[in-house]
Symmetry: C2
Subunit: 290 residues, 2 copies
């Protein structure tokens, strides 16, 4: 498995780490990066994350054997349109978008006949730190990468992308775009929304300084994901709006039930709920759901 | 500052760490421990967290100059009644309860004329690990300890307890019991409830194994506090029921507003909310609310 020329569109945490590990493992000849921030690209070049900087997407994709689209999902439409005009036969495109139904729809509309060359993917390796400065070649080791292959993809192309992530150290699984978006609405998108909501709520109080003054380790960990990029999470929430609303409503129903337990001073119901949650989490932490 | 004989009632994370640091800093002559679990007390004795084990609270408190009540709050009523019968004049009692209005009411009812000897406190040093095995002499370093002194306390006794925590390395502040319970409902009790709710919700789904299988670092940190002791958190929720319900309702209102933003596809309102939350959290993390 070897790609002579790789284009990374969006050299942030994901794109930079992907490029770095490809170079470290000698899986490619040359990585060209492109992105919105000249400073970020300069940093990526100086730190050796990429080998050269392209002036635009077309210049990056020209001659590329593999293209990773790891820009914010809101930019995918323009990026895919540029890719379509330039992508050479036999080259593969994959992505790192956090949602999959919208990415597939966008790609299908923009890539036209070249849609078979696009194998959608989602490496589960976010962090609250972003940008090339956060890149690290071990980012994907042991992490899951979800492939959401299209019916147009050849079995060989799917195997190539799957094999690439496996060589990088990731654990590859497959889902449909619908299944992907439903799962991540529950275990990723909703928690982000809940953490943002709590911090925002506290920050709007007249005594917010006092409240933050007494917030401790539990609050810090609970709200860590509220330090995630607002723009990225806005896009994820909008792209997965229907599934996220569904999860939000289920959660609101749960909170209502808990409020009822409190209203009724039902201590044993509360303890049961807490104990079940704790047991489920301990099972998860022990790796019993891997 | 030196206490010849210290009684620690409940030699868990807090009681064990308190005892350990007192001994390390040579602030006491002898620490006697008492608690519900013989195995835990044996461990604490063998590891040198305490110097001896008492068979009951009365035996522990007999002759003590300082008593720390660091048992679950639900046991405080019985403990205070036993303390009342035995506590010698001039001795001080303090506690580590996570709620303060109920502890003060319980102490007032049980201690009677000896209430002036009790200086209520709450060291903010919880962790999801519990028991003597988790004890560590640095647990309180840099952490806040809230004193909620009573009007019956002498200024000198308050200063003694305050000074003790300061020598241990904690940052001591004062609040009324009402203020304490309102603040911690917002920044500690509600987040625990929210984390338990999410894990419980996910664990009840038909596809819970799949969901946990894709839960990653964000979910892990968000739900860390859902691994806290169910019994302890049941008691905290019951003791602070009214303030917690108030916070829960404010949060439900916030979620409703966010649901509305999603329904209306109001991307800019969502981004604003996320950005404000992130900015407030970054300010907090940088220590601007210390």
């Amino acid at each position: 498995m070897f790609f002579e020329r790789v284009a990374v569109i969006g050299v942030g945490l994901i794109g930079g780490s992907f490029s770095l590990v490809l170079k470290e493992k000698k899986l490619c000849g040359h990585v060209v990066g492109v992105g919105r921030s000249a400073a970020n690209l300069k940093f990526a070049l100086e730190r050796g994350l990429i080998d050269s900087v392209a002036s635009d997407v077309a210049a990056a994709v020209r001659g590329a054997d593999l293209v990773l689209v790891s820009a914010p999902v809101a930019q995918f439409e323009n990026i895919f349109q540029e890719i379509k005009a330039i992508l050479k036969p036999g080259a593969l495109v994959t992505d790192a978008g956090s949602t999959k139904r919208d990415v597939v729809a966008t790609a299908r509309a923009a890539l036209g006949a070249k849609i078979a060359q696009f194998v959608p993917a989602h490496p589960i390796a976010g962090a609250e730190h972003s940008g090339a400065a956060a890149a690290n070649p071990d980012l994907f080791r042991g992490r899951r990468v979800v492939l959401a292959p299209l019916e147009e993809n050849s079995r060989q192309d799917i195997e190539t992308i799957s094999g690439l992530w496996t060589v990088i150290g990731a654990r590859v699984t497959r889902m449909t775009p619908e299944e992907h978006d439903a799962v991540f609405a529950a275990v990723s998108h909703l928690p982000h929304l809940l953490a943002y909501a709590l911090v925002n709520d506290v920050s709007k109080r007249p005594n917010s300084a006092q409240l933050f003054g007494y917030a401790a380790g539990g609050f810090r960990d609970f709200t860590r994901i509220a330090s995630s990029q607002p723009e990225m999470w806005r896009d994820i929430c909008m792209a997965n709006r229907d599934r996220l609303l569904h999860e939000l409503h289920l959660y609101e129903r749960k909170l209502k039930a808990i409020g009822q337990m409190l209203e009724e001073s039902d201590a044993s119901a509360l303890e049961k709920l807490f104990a079940e949650a704790r047991a489920a989490r301990e099972k998860w932490i022990k790796g019993e759901y891997e």
